[in-house]
């Protein structure tokens, strides 16, 4: 869709210590990917050629990951992929208190773009969505704003309260929006994907920031309900957002399920990511690896069970890694034992140490720590 541009607002969710050094959108997931790869690849697959990634802080890791945009075939002569650091225009506010402030900061980018439509999304969601279908539905319904949602009917109330919930009638008309309500009235969770005309976004951002608003959904979308035709687009497949250590852990583990792998990574909508020239992963003569997702460049001589390993991880003889997430360059020495842990990059666990978290409370370890 050459008439559509994309805007991704990088996540500012705090998941210490993992987000101390990077935006949550740049967090490694499923061994080889970063969270932002999902929305970015979906946009690229839909043929979008002008994509801006708006960032708030901590964006060097994100920039390093995205660079020229070539893995998404977005290294183009004109347009392509743009990283938009905060405060680039004169309209910017000094303190960013919400995503509306970020959008206001990139107003010039929105204004200068030429596409008719815009897909606006938050960079913290995991899904594989054919955005062309969303845009088709948007045009067909002659909607002012289309919001992608997933009906989470059946999950418990506390889980539901993590999401922005939409009330949707039979015609997919959105009648109400509530952001993370304590007592949910609806089970339709927003996937944080909004489609509208670019001019409409520009005028909403302009109007709301002029009135001192900061939050895109609460102040802009929810308050403008009455005057706009708002429709929901139901996504049948998987969707979740990364907003806590628990959701980060669970979403990684989800990739060990065959259905998830097939839906997310082996479908017609490929997920692209930066290629790091790693050699193949090597298994030693005593290696025991079961039900695990493993990136390239690892050297495994020990045991790995129900775990997700990023590139260049070393698991030495006698070491056991169970139900854990290991990021790039971790080294697990002889006879160490890890269960329910999340190791950030370049962590070293020395010989025979034991580190055990719990399923509902995985134990995180900050980048570069030696234990």
């Amino acid at each position: 869709m050459i008439d559509t541009m994309g805007i991704i607002i990088a996540s500012n969710i705090n998941i210490p210590p993992l987000t101390d050094i990077r935006s949550a959108s740049a967090l490694p997931i499923a061994g080889g990917y970063r969270i932002i790869d999902f929305v970015l690849s979906n946009m690229a697959s839909a043929g979008l050629e002008n994509i801006g990634v708006a960032t708030e802080a901590n964006y060097s890791s994100l920039m390093d990951h995205i660079k020229s945009g070539s893995p998404w075939d977005l290294d183009r002569k004109n347009r392509g992929l743009n990283i938009l650091p905060p405060n680039i225009g004169k309209n910017s506010v000094e303190i960013i208190r919400g995503d509306l402030d970020i959008l206001s900061g990139i107003r010039e980018f929105i204004h200068r773009s030429r596409e008719t439509y815009v897909i606006l999304s938050l960079g913290s969601n995991i899904y594989s969505i054919d955005f062309n279908k969303v845009i088709e539905s948007h045009k067909e319904k002659q909607a002012d704003i289309t919001i992608v949602y997933k009906d989470l009917n059946g999950i418990d109330q506390k889980e539901l309260s993590r999401f922005t919930l939409l009330e949707v009638d039979e015609d997919k008309n959105i009648t109400d929006i509530e952001v993370c309500p304590y007592y949910p009235k609806s089970t339709c969770a927003s996937a944080d994907v909004f489609v509208m005309e670019r001019m409409l976004l520009e005028s909403i951002v302009d109007e709301c920031s002029a009135r001192g608003s900061h939050d895109f959904i609460k102040d802009a979308i929810a308050k403008k309900m009455s005057g706009l035709r708002m429709y929901g687009y139901e996504h049948e497949g998987y969707t979740d957002k990364i907003d806590s250590m628990k959701s980060y852990y669970n979403n990684n583990m989800k990739f060990l399920e065959k259905e998830m792998q097939e839906e997310m990574l082996k479908s017609d909508l490929p997920i692209y990511t930066k290629n790091r020239d790693l050699p193949p992963t090597k298994y030693g003569s005593d290696a025991e690896v079961v039900n695990s997702y493993i990136a390239d460049g690892c050297i495994i001589e020990g045991t790995v069970i129900n775990s997700v390993l990023s590139g260049n991880v070393v698991v030495k003889k006698g070491a056991v890694v169970k139900n854990s997430i290991l990021m790039q360059g971790d080294i697990i020495h002889e006879d160490a034992l890890l269960e329910y842990v999340v190791l950030d990059k370049e962590v070293e666990i020395t010989a025979a140490r034991k580190l055990i978290g719990q399923e509902n409370y995985p134990l995180p370890v900050a980048k570069g720590t030696v234990i």
């Binding site: 050699p279 193949p280 090597k282 298994y283 690896v289 997702y293 493993i294």
Partner: protein
Amino acid sequence: MNAKDCVAMILAGGQGSRLGALTKNVAKPAVPFGGKYRIIDFPLSNCVHSGIDTVGVLTQYQPLELNTYIGNGGPWDLARNYGGVYVLPPYQSAKAGEWYKGTANAIYQNLSFLDRFCPKNVLILSGDHIYKMHYGEMLKEHKKSGAAVTIAVMPVPWEEASRFGIMNVDENGIITEFEEKPANPKSNLASMGIYIFDYKILKKYLEDDERNPESSNDFGKNVIPQMLGNGEKMMSYRFEGYWKDVGTVQSLWEANMDLIDAPPKFEIYDDSWSIYSRNTALAPQYVGKNAKITESTVTQGCMIYGEVSHSVVFSNVQIGENSKISDSVIMPDVKIGKNVVINKAVIGSGAIIEDNAILGVNEDEKSKYISGMCTNGIVLIEGGATIPAGEDIPKGSMVEVE
């Protein structure tokens, strides 16, 4: 424009007929190797790590895949404004047009390419060797000695010396005699097919060689002996380390196995000398609940549900439940069903091995698949071939696409 100190020319032209079905549709340098690479990645990566940023790749058989693979050279950091990597096929000029007649003729036909860069030295490489070598060190020695040509040599076991081009050298490393595959070798220093020439001298000899109708226009057979006869200063450069010619099915299989021995005979886990290759990022490998992988390398996109031991598995390979793979090389996109047994085999890209097939286990000299290409009992399956369910493919077979 600045003159280049050294330009590399990779001879990637050979038909690779001894690789049998593997080179039916691709040139030898584009044959997959080592789980994530192609053979040509090794000389190309060596060039980049050695500070050589201008490389010509001379090719004439099945160039499509090699062309597509090399593209703009970006994966090897060879997408340069002045220099970079060029694929050089034979072409029709105003005066003449012909296939590359021999290694020397291939360079001769591309003198105009070399002239563009006014190189002081030209490095001639072969596109079918697996090794890591710092050509910069060799270039330094070449300059220091002021030789017309410096030839890389390595000691080989005496009993194998008669398979190689053997250099006899004096105590200073000056080459005194060259014998192509001698019956009674006087030395065990084999030529590795790596030459650094002073460009002006090379150009003169290539022009002379071209005028000689008797010549077969080959470096080893003609140009080197001619230079030696004329008393040019020719130096040897000793290389010690892993080096393997992967021109046959057996040597290709062996070189893959060399990566997974413990400790490996050839180390690719070396940050300071990464081997670059063109590949898109795929999903990580998934190792299933009943899978068992030992002494092997496996790479991205694979889904392993069976057992893999002492094997090299390339990207996007699927291995079904209860299948047992040992001592094998499984090239990209191969699909292996359930209860399959594969032993000591090279399976070409995209082949499909259906359930219950048995490869490389039984002996049957009368089988229609037995091939002279497959020495030492190795089984070779052509890329894209399908082995039907339950089929028994005996040791030493080559199965081609019909």
